[in-house]
């Protein structure tokens, strides 16, 4: 009797500790951030202004034209992962300034404050309609979601965690490419993350990559396009070179709908373009199909 009550109290204490830890983690802090009333956002597609609050209720989709707004990493996790199942991993990374570039540290500090993230990527354990998986999300609000040393390390860690737990992994990408302030170190993250995918692939585990607006540059040319199944959100910009660079190089205007997810689906590079409202169901189904028994 005494033993059981002891273990129960121990467990209670552990639970409390965990709760405390999670409250202190950036994920929970950001969850508490509320959008001020009366803030408006302009839809880039139909140019109409939408109330931010009503927009959030509408799954960040423009009610006039169906444009999918960018989502913060936190919002994405709240949207996709079942309530109270997300446990963030890989906390405490610090971005350094390897090339001693002017103003880089200040920039990072500014974005850290405004997004409450360590860097442009978070990952952890989560469940999607009860299907266990490792979930990683890039945040395009953090320096355009660019991939520096910390993002590369965390992406690699998330694959390693997924191998360790023998779980499938789902990654939402949103990035402008490699982070040029970190120079050659950023470029090498492409090799690092790709080799992590190769290791994960060898273990026979599932990797679903979901490309969201915008996915370009070094991220497209590494782990984002190496998924077993590649999904994309409608109307997302996906490509290696940015549209402006291509326009400058070939000196002509690009055709309408170039480098969108629908375009790539037509060209045969993406498995399926999925509306945001169907995304959770599609992901949980795909995870269920690949469940190990």
């Amino acid at each position: 009797m005494n033993n059981i009550s002891k273990t129960l109290s121990k467990r209670k204490k552990l639970k409390n500790d965990l709760k405390k830890f999670r409250e202190e983690s950036p994920y929970i802090k950001a969850q508490k951030m509320d959008v001020p009333e009366g803030l408006y956002e302009k839809c880039p597609k139909c140019n109409r202004t939408v109330k931010r609050n009503s927009n959030i209720e509408n799954d960040y989709i423009c009610k006039h034209c169906g444009y999918h707004f960018r989502m913060r990493a936190i919002d994405r996790i709240r949207y996709i992962v079942d309530e109270d199942t997300f446990v963030e991993k890989g906390l405490g990374y610090i971005t350094l300034n390897p090339l001693f570039q002017d103003g880089y540290e200040e920039k990072i500090a500014k974005y850290k404050k405004s997004t409450n993230l360590d860097d442009a990527y978070i990952y952890g354990y989560g469940q999607i309609y009860g299907q266990e998986c490792v979930i990683g999300v890039m945040d395009s609000y953090f320096l355009m979601g660019s991939m520096g040393s910390v993002v590369g390390e965390k992406v690699t860690k998330s694959f390693e965690y997924s191998i360790y737990k023998k779980l499938p992994i789902v990654i939402f990408t949103a990035s402008g490419g490699a982070r040029m302030q970190e120079g050659i170190f950023s470029l090498m993250q492409m090799a690092k993350t790709s080799s992590a995918v190769a290791k994960h692939n060898k273990m026979g585990l599932l990797y679903i990559s979901v490309l969201t607006h915008p996915t370009t540059g070094g991220v497209t040319a590494s782990f984002a396009t190496l998924g077993d199944i590649i999904l994309a959100e409608p109307g997302a910009l996906i490509g290696f070179a940015g549209p402006r660079v291509i326009e400058q190089t070939i000196n002509q205007k690009l055709p309408e709908g170039f480098q969108t997810s629908e375009f790539l689906e037509k060209k045969g590079f993406i498995d399926k373009v999925v509306n945001r409202r169907d995304l959770k169901r599609t992901l949980s189904l795909l995870l269920a199909f690949h469940r190990r028994t």
Partner: protein, 318 residues
Amino acid sequence: MDILAKERKVKELEKQIESLGDSETVKKLKREIKRYKEIEMSKLTAWDRVLLARHQSRPKALDFINYMSPDFIELHGDRLYQDDSSIIGGIGSINGTVFTIIAHQKGKTLEENIERNFAMPHPEGYRKALRLMKQAEKFKRPILTLIDTPGAYPGIGAEERGQGFAIAENIKSMSEFTVPIISVIIGEGGSGGALALGVANKILMLENAIYSILSPEGYASILWKDSSLAPKAAEVMKLTSYDLQEFSIIDRIIKEPYGGAHFDKEKTFNDTKSAILEEYNKLKILSPAELHYLKNKKIRNYGFLQRFNYKNLGGIKR
């Protein structure tokens, strides 16, 4: 005065020699040229090295291949769409060892450059490289890649055929191969286009080659909105061989003659060849599993960051 101006001065002096017949003055002038090269052309700024890496008369990949491996046979096509002439690939022997050789090829004249697309490959080029590397893996043949590209081509056709997908596939597969891979950066190493051939057991670099995430012009125009600040950007970006060796991104620097590789091509080729063979002899004795393990361990350690850790406060992980 940048390196090109210095080079012009040397050329001028050499011309003077030709016009003179007197042996005494010739000797004096020759000594002067030699001294000038040693003093002035050995102190290079990062921008000088960028200029040298892009120099018109710098030896190109085919020159290296023709010297090192006279029996080289070029193989064409990716068996999917078409042949991309900005990447050349084939089989050849270097000192009796058969290598699969893959390289970016720049042109020497404008016409050839247009045909080679200034060594900016389309996805076909990368898929051809991958096909040949898979072939090498099958026949347990070591792979040698020579890197000299401003970057992957940004164009409509390239995007339509999956530029990013092709590069990603190359990087992933190169990290998986178990045969020895040696990469030599002989000129410009531009961004993902270079990395798609540059995931190797040993990465060598010519002294005046550069390897960077984007061109100094691009960097300056994105960060400072002014592409004429490229010389300053080159300094900041740390793209020279010495910087990269310090970061342990590359393994070895191959020295060039004063004033750049084009002043003494024979010597550059010879040094490159012996460096490649030396590194290959080190890799040859390792088993495939060891090669795979060591390569991936090296790749895993790329990056410059810190993690907050109760046990190890303030430790820097490199």
